[in-house]
C-alpha cells in the first residue's frame, strides 16, 4: 500500500491545514499569475541592483515566489503581499551573502545592466552602477527600498528586520554618500 492511497487529499493539495499553509485559499493560479505579472519585474530589479548579479536575481526571484506561495502570507491586500514578497527576497539575499562564496559579487560586470533604451541613459543614471558598487549591500538595499520602491521607514523596517530609528540614520548616511558619489561620477 502506498502513501498516495492512504492520504490522497495530501497529494491533491487539499489539506492545507495539515501542511500548515493556506496559500491557495488566499490566491489561486490566475490571481497569482496577475500578481506575478505586476510585481516580478520590480522584485527582479531590486535583487539585481542590490546583489549586482542578474543570474542570482533570476534564481532568487523564482525562489522568493515559491516561498511566498508556500507560506502563510498576510491576506490584507496586494500592498501587504508585495511587502511580504520583498521581505522574503531580502532574507534570501541575506542567506546568500552568509554562505561561503565561490566568486565575489563585485566581479559581475556592470554592462549587463545597460539597457537598450538610450533616452534613459542620463549622466546620473550612467553613474548608478559604479556608485552602487561603492555602497555596502545593506545601504544598497535601504536606498533601493526607500527611493526606487518608495517604501516608508516603517515598511523598510518590516522588510529588513532593522529598527525604524536605525533606518532613518542609516538611510541619511547612505543617501549622503550615494549623492556624493553620483555628483563625483561614481568615484569615491
Amino acid at each position: 500500500m502506498s502513501w498516495e492511497s492512504i492520504i490522497p487529499n495530501v497529494l491533491a493539495g487539499e489539506t492545507q491545514a495539515l501542511a500548515g499553509t493556506a496559500p491557495s485559499a488566499a490566491m489561486d493560479n490566475e490571481q497569482f499569475a496577475d500578481f506575478y505579472a505586476r510585481t516580478a519585474r520590480s522584485l527582479w530589479a531590486y535583487l539585481a541592483r542590490v546583489s549586482r548579479d542578474p543570474a542570482l536575481a533570476d534564481d532568487l526571484t523564482q525562489e522568493a515566489y515559491v516561498r511566498f506561495l508556500c507560506a502563510n502570507h498576510p491576506e490584507d491586500g496586494e500592498v501587504a503581499a508585495r511587502r511580504y514578497l520583498f521581505k522574503i527576497a531580502t532574507n534570501l539575499l541575506r542567506d546568500h551573502w552568509r554562505r561561503p562564496q565561490s566568486s565575489s559579487i563585485d566581479e559581475i560586470p556592470e554592462h549587463v545592466f545597460a539597457a537598450g533604451s538610450d533616452e534613459l541613459q542620463s549622466d546620473s543614471l550612467m553613474m548608478v552602477g559604479p556608485a552602487m558598487a561603492q555602497m555596502r549591500p545593506r545601504d544598497r538595499q535601504l536606498l533601493w527600498l526607500a527611493y526606487a520602491e518608495g517604501y516608508s521607514h516603517h515598511e523598510i523596517a518590516q522588510i529588513t528586520g532593522l529598527g525604524s530609528a536605525s533606518i532613518r540614520i542609516l538611510l541619511f548616511r547612505a543617501r549622503r554618500k550615494m549623492a556624493s558619489l553620483l555628483r563625483c561620477g561614481g568615484e569615491a
Binding site: 492545507q16 501542511a19 533570476d58 546620473s124 527611493y147
Partner: protein, 168 residues
C-alpha cells in the same frame, strides 16, 4: 527638527513619488531644494533610482508564472507528506525497539531451557541416521547435511521473493 531630516523632506518625497516634481510643485519648494543639501540629495537619489528601476525592470526574462505555481504546489505537497509521515516513522521505530526489547528479555529469561533443547535437537530428530555411514564418522559429517539444506532454503527464498515482487 531631526538632524537627519529636513522639515520639508516629507512634502518633497510625496511630490517625487507622485511624479509631481518639478513642474507641479510650489515655487518656494524649488528654491528650498536649491539651498538645502538634504533635499537636493533626495531629489537626485530618488530621480536616479526611479529611472534605474524603470530601466532595470525591462531587462529580465522571467520564468512563466505557471512554472513557479507548479513548483510551489510540489513543494507544499512534499512538505505535507513529510509532516504526515514523521510521526508514523517515529511510531514504527518505537514499535521495532519494543519488539527487540521483548525478544531480548525472553531470550535472557529462557536461555537455560533453549540451550538444553538445542543441544538435544540432533538426537531428537535422529539426524545422525540421515548421514551416510561412510562420512558419519568424520568431524565434518554434519556439514554434508546442513550446507545443502541451507543452499536449498536460500534458493527457494529467492524464488518466492522474485515471484512475490513480480506479482506486485
Amino acid at each position: 527638527m531631526s538632524p537627519f531630516r529636513c522639515a520639508r523632506e516629507r512634502e518633497l518625497s510625496d511630490l517625487l513619488h507622485k511624479g509631481h516634481w518639478p513642474q507641479a510643485c510650489p515655487e518656494d519648494l524649488r528654491k528650498h531644494v536649491v539651498s538645502c543639501r538634504s533635499c537636493s540629495d533626495l531629489v537626485l537619489i530618488t530621480g536616479t533610482l526611479q529611472a534605474s528601476r524603470k530601466q532595470t525592470a525591462e531587462l529580465p526574462r522571467l520564468a512563466p508564472a505557471g512554472t513557479i505555481w507548479w513548483r510551489a504546489q510540489l513543494r507544499r505537497r512534499n512538505a505535507a507528506i513529510e509532516k504526515m509521515s514523521r510521526p508514523i516513522v517515529g511510531a514504527q521505530i518505537f514499535a521495532l525497539a519494543m519488539v527487540l526489547v521483548v525478544i531480548a528479555a525472553i531470550a535472557v529469561w529462557q536461555f537455560g531451557n533453549w540451550s538444553a533443547w538445542l543441544s538435544d535437537l540432533p538426537d531428537t530428530l535422529h539426524l545422525a541416521a540421515l548421514i551416510p555411514t561412510s562420512i558419519s564418522t568424520q568431524e565434518s559429517g554434519l556439514l554434508w547435511v546442513v550446507v545443502p539444506v541451507a543452499v536449498m532454503i536460500a534458493l527457494l527464498s529467492g524464488i518466492v521473493v522474485y515471484l512475490a515482487s513480480e506479482k506486485q
